[in-house]
């Protein structure tokens, strides 16, 4: 810790900090233009100049100079003020006087600085640059003449997002920020550049001219998309969300957002949102009042319960429900109706976490999100983070770039993150367990195991060693199609580093062997002792925003001891939807017709006597329902979500519910009361009483790092791949794509411009099947077939066809109930 004096006040700060950070600690505010907490110091704008005694230079840039012991710093002197004024005048030579029409007015750093320093006249006269405005890029508008060349957009795109779409072009007075060859933007449109630009040079096209910043009422709430649990700032005017912004001071995401989080809000005010409950009379939907709808629901369900028994009623929840809603829903189905048929996410998307529970103890990731960037090696297994969890990708990127971490990507195709990786293991789809087992064998062979850890904290290692005898690198090569050198290198990197992480993504696109992967991955972590320490552990990334919470509250009830074999196969979602199995179903927030891998799903739903669908839009499943109940979106209700690092965070209501839609909580409360189930005034208290881990919010339950207790023991569960084949047939696999199942994202018209239904294949495969880029083809497996467009991509290896999920057709039924990569063929139309 070093001591320095700032404006006469002494501060203590750790070694290596910059003068700017010391000034912040001392409470003296130093203005900056090109500095951001997330980025490395750049020193481009020279506004942050301070005067340091006994230096050679008159002024020192405080953002890029490290503080040293005994420095005496002055942040405001008449010369500094004059210097800052001159810098602003120089910037204003070219900056057009667009304030009345610029969207940034009101939060523009340049505006604030010019006002604060009173720059009313410009001594420098010059012709203003007339650089073009980029009107062609979707979602982001670039107004090049307003740019002050601070470089923040370039740096965030490079350092944090690892995309590098824009950069400085030319030198000197002719510098401007642009893309290569001045094309329009073709990146992932995360919009980070928009939020970090201090002036109005980069603007969101969705928000353009819709409202003035000072008219917006801002509410901090949570993102409804992935399980990262980022905090958003909703800007609301006239009961409409006009824009979403990020705030560096709140939440866990440090102000970083992805394209879905930032631009995916149009579904909230979509004209097709349901506003009134609908009842099907004579095959037509008629709008009814809530009392009528709920009376009808209660009477019919009760009748079915009495006549056919409670076991003929099933319920499908959704991982987008808040914790309170899931808890109440589960109570309604379990205590009110008395049925055990309750599931969500197809029954398979959370099996990975269930496997983790059996092996390690808790059905959750083991460490927190902010530790990822301090890891020394990261194994990404079957995860395309750019598509599913962009903010985790940011963390991985920071680890690789700032912490010199070694990234091992194991995927069946090259992803956008592949250039960052130390090793890319492109394996045959469906053979993850073999791969991991091979890695463990290499580690055992090379004696890189952590013997003390294994002896004290684990059990069952002998059985594992027995099973792994046949997993030699040559065997693995035959099954997974990975060379032995790569395998060994990857295994050694993982085993030798101290802080090693494993990240696996789960979701609706995979799931057949998630449990086995969980066992295998925990074996790998246990055998090297990479658990229970900072930045070391296993992450299973849930797909949706409350995947973790729903698992903690809803499905956990299955695992209460003494409740018998609740976790039997017949209560799973896919079994529930076999035709004729159940008589009535209550589906909340899911769209099984489009997202469940059952070819006979339509018959199953039509065979039901009574179908209730509770959703925001009229989905394809809702069209077959008898009662459709409208619910409100995330911005219109209160509740809590649990993110993947086990933090429970609170939602805040920013809008009144659209039309007559209600939060799920109200509907469930109403139905619970009719069946005599007691609903407490504050459900949160009851949840905390039932699940004591949920006592504290905004902090990971169980602590940031799990399994640090002395008396914990992990289990080795030896597992193998279920089906192993050595042949070379075309395998169909899925990638979730940017929009997942489209339950929310499909309704954002602007985001839909990015993507269409397609299958990616290698050019060799294309030649084999005689198709070309852009052709319409039929992809078929022995379960089903769909029509898509072909895209030839060199990132996809031979024998693999990657089908993109798209929200208008049911693609998953190609894989069938097993949800494993399946053999398929492509035929040109």
């Amino acid at each position: 810790m070093i001591t320095l004096t700032i404006n006469g006040k002494e501060v203590q700060i750790e070694d290596g900090a910059t003068i700017l950070e010391a000034c912040e600690l001392a409470g003296s505010k130093v203005p900056t233009l090109c500095h951001d907490k997330r980025l490395l110091p750049f020193g481009a704008c020279r506004i942050c100049l301070v005067e340091v005694e006994k230096t050679r230079t008159k002024f020192t840039p405080s953002c890029s100079t490290p503080a040293t012991e005994g420095m005496v710093v002055k942040t405001t002197t008449p010369e500094i003020i004059k210097a800052r004024k001159t810098i602003l005048e120089l910037l204003l030579i070219n900056h057009p006087l667009d304030c009345p029409i610029c969207d940034k007015a009101g939060e523009c750093t340049l505006q604030e600085l010019v006002y604060e320093y009173g720059v009313s006249e410009n001594r420098f006269k010059g012709k203003k640059l007339a650089l073009p405005v980029d009107h062609l890029s979707p979602l982001i508008e670039r107004n090049l003449s307003r740019c002050v060349l601070c470089g923040k957009c370039v740096r965030i795109c490079n350092e944090v997002q690892a995309v590098g779409e824009i950069s400085f072009i030319n030198r000197g007075m002719k510098t401007y920020i642009g893309t290569d060859f001045d094309r329009s933007l073709d990146c992932e449109f995360c919009g980070q550049c928009i939020s970090i630009c201090p002036v109005g040079a980069l603007n969101s096209r969705l928000f353009k001219y819709k409202a003035r910043v000072w008219d917006l009422k801002e509410t901090v709430t949570l993102c409804p998309y992935c399980s990262n649990g980022c905090s958003l700032v909703l800007g609301v005017k006239d009961n409409e969300i006009k824009r979403i912004n990020s705030c560096g001071q709140v939440g866990i995401n440090e102000g970083n957002l992805c394209s879905k989080g930032r631009f995916g809000y149009e579904f909230v005010n979509h004209p097709e949102r349901l506003k009134k409950p609908l009842l099907k009379k004579d095959g037509q939907f008629k709008e009814v009042t809530w009392t009528e709808a709920l009376d009808f629901v209660f009477l019919r369900l009760d009748k079915i319960k009495i006549e056919r028994g409670a076991g003929s009623i099933g319920a499908l929840g959704s991982a987008r429900l808040t914790n309170e809603e899931v808890y109440l829903f589960q109570k309604l189905i379990g205590q009110g109706i008395g049925s055990r048929h309750f599931d969500y996410g197809g029954g398979y998307s959370y099996q990975g976490l269930v496997g983790l529970k059996e092996a390690l103890g808790y059905a959750a990731s083991t460490n927190s999100i902010s530790e990822i960037r301090r890891a020394e090696s990261i194994l990404l297994l079957r995860a395309d983070l750019n598509e599913t969890h962009p903010n985790i990708k940011v963390e991985v990127n920071l680890a690789v770039n700032r912490n010199k971490a070694k990234l091992i990507i194991a995927n069946y195709r090259r992803t956008k993150l592949s250039p960052q990786a130390e090793i890319n293991l492109i394996y045959k789809p469906g053979t993850e367990v073999t791969l991991i087992n091979g890695m463990i064998k290499v580690i055992i062979e090379n004696d890189l195991i952590n013997k003390s850890f294994i002896n004290e904290k684990t059990e069952g290692v002998e059985k594992l060693k027995l099973l792994l005898e046949k997993y030699t690198p040559t065997y693995v090569e035959k099954v997974c199609k990975i060379s032995p050198q790569e395998l060994e290198k990857a295994a050694k990197i993982y085993a030798k580093t101290e802080k090693a992480l494993i990240i696996v993504a789960t979701g609706m696109a995979w799931g057949g062997n998630d449990k086995d992967i969980a066992y295998a991955v925990s074996n790998l972590a246990l055998i090297t002792g990479h658990l229970g320490k900072e930045s070391t552990g296993v992450y299973f990334l849930g797909e949706k925003n409350n995947s973790q919470g729903v698992l903690d509250l809803g499905a956990l009830s299955r695992f209460l001891p003494g409740s018998g074999s609740v976790d039997s196969q017949e209560y799973r979602a896919l079994e529930m939807l076999e035709p004729g199995r159940l008589k009535a179903m209550y589906i909340v927030g899911e769209n099984p017709l489009l997202t469940y891998p059952l070819p006979k799903i339509k018959e199953a739903l039509e065979a039901l006597e009574f179908l209730i669908v509770q959703d925001m839009f009229m989905t394809k499943t809702a069209e077959l329902a008898d009662v459709v109940l409208p619910i409100c979106s995330f911005a219109e209700k209160e509740g809590t979500y649990t993110n993947l690092e086990r933090s429970v965070q609170k939602l805040k209501k920013a809008l009144p519910c659209l039309g007559e839609s209600k939060p799920d909580l109200e509907i469930f409360t109403n139905l619970c009361r009719r069946w005599g189930v007691e609903v407490p005034q504050d459900i949160w208290l009851e949840i905390v009483a039932t699940i004591p881990m949920y006592k504290e919010i905004d902090k990971p339950w169980g602590g940031s790092i799990l399994y640090i207790e002395k008396d914990w023991k992990g289990k080795f569960i030896a597992v193998e791949d279920q089906e192993i084949s050595f042949d070379d047939k075309l395998l169909l696999v899925f990638t979730p794509g940017h929009l997942y199942s489209g339950s929310l994202s499909a309704w954002n018209l602007s985001l839909l411009k990015v993507g269409e239904p397609m299958v990616e294949i290698n050019d060799q495969e294309a030649k084999r099947f005689g198709v070309e880029d852009g052709d319409e083809v039929i992809v078929s497996s022995k379960k089903a077939s769909v029509q898509v467009k072909v895209k030839i991509s060199s990132e996809v290896p031979k024998y693999v066809a990657v089908v993109h999920l798209y929200p208008t057709t049911n693609m998953v039924c190609l894989l069938g109930k097993e949800m494993m990569p399946i053999e398929g063929s492509i035929k040109k139309i």
Partner: protein
């Protein structure tokens, strides 16, 4: 109670009474100061703050660019503006179009702050003070009402 009787000089009382009568008599022949509205109307001073007018430039377009400063500055929150993106930018490359510009006259206090705030001198206050109407809806002036000249009813 003791009756308070001030000392009264009789003569002076009479004289004053008669003087009072003469004053009123004099006023009987002085011209009345009544302005018979609406046949006679009041001439307002220059710089009088009446109804707002949105100015139009030589080509017939409104000068207002929709910056929203008048709405922000208005102490009574009487001005509401919404803007939108024009499909084709105009000559100078600007594509901000004012979609609605509404002044609620029943809220407006005619302080003239909006005129002060406007960076484009697009709004000014005219001399029109006759805005009375029969229902509240007519007191919400939108863009066309504010740009065109209001007719003044003539009375005989």
């Amino acid at each position: 109670m003791k009756q308070y009787a001030p000392k009264v000089n009789f003569v002076i009382t009479i004289i004053e009474l008669i003087r009072g009568l003469l004053v009123t008599f004099k006023h009987l022949f002085m011209p009345a100061v009544t302005l018979q509205y609406p046949t006679q109307r009041w001439k307002v001073a220059e710089g009088y703050r009446g109804l707002q007018r949105l100015k139009v430039d030589e080509d017939g377009r409104e000068k207002c660019v929709g910056c929203g400063l008048c709405a922000k500055y208005c102490p009574a929150e009487a001005i509401k503006i919404t803007t939108k993106v024009m499909d084709t930018p105009d000559i100078q490359g600007y594509d901000k179009k004012v979609e609605t510009y509404v002044i609620d006259i029943s809220r407006c206090i005619f302080c003239g702050f909006c005129v002060e705030a406007c960076p484009k001198e697009a709004i000014s206050m005219s001399k029109n003070y006759e805005m009375a109407c029969y229902n509240r809806e007519s007191m919400i002036y939108d863009l066309d009402k504010l740009t065109k000249e209001l007719e003044v009813t003539k009375y005989k």
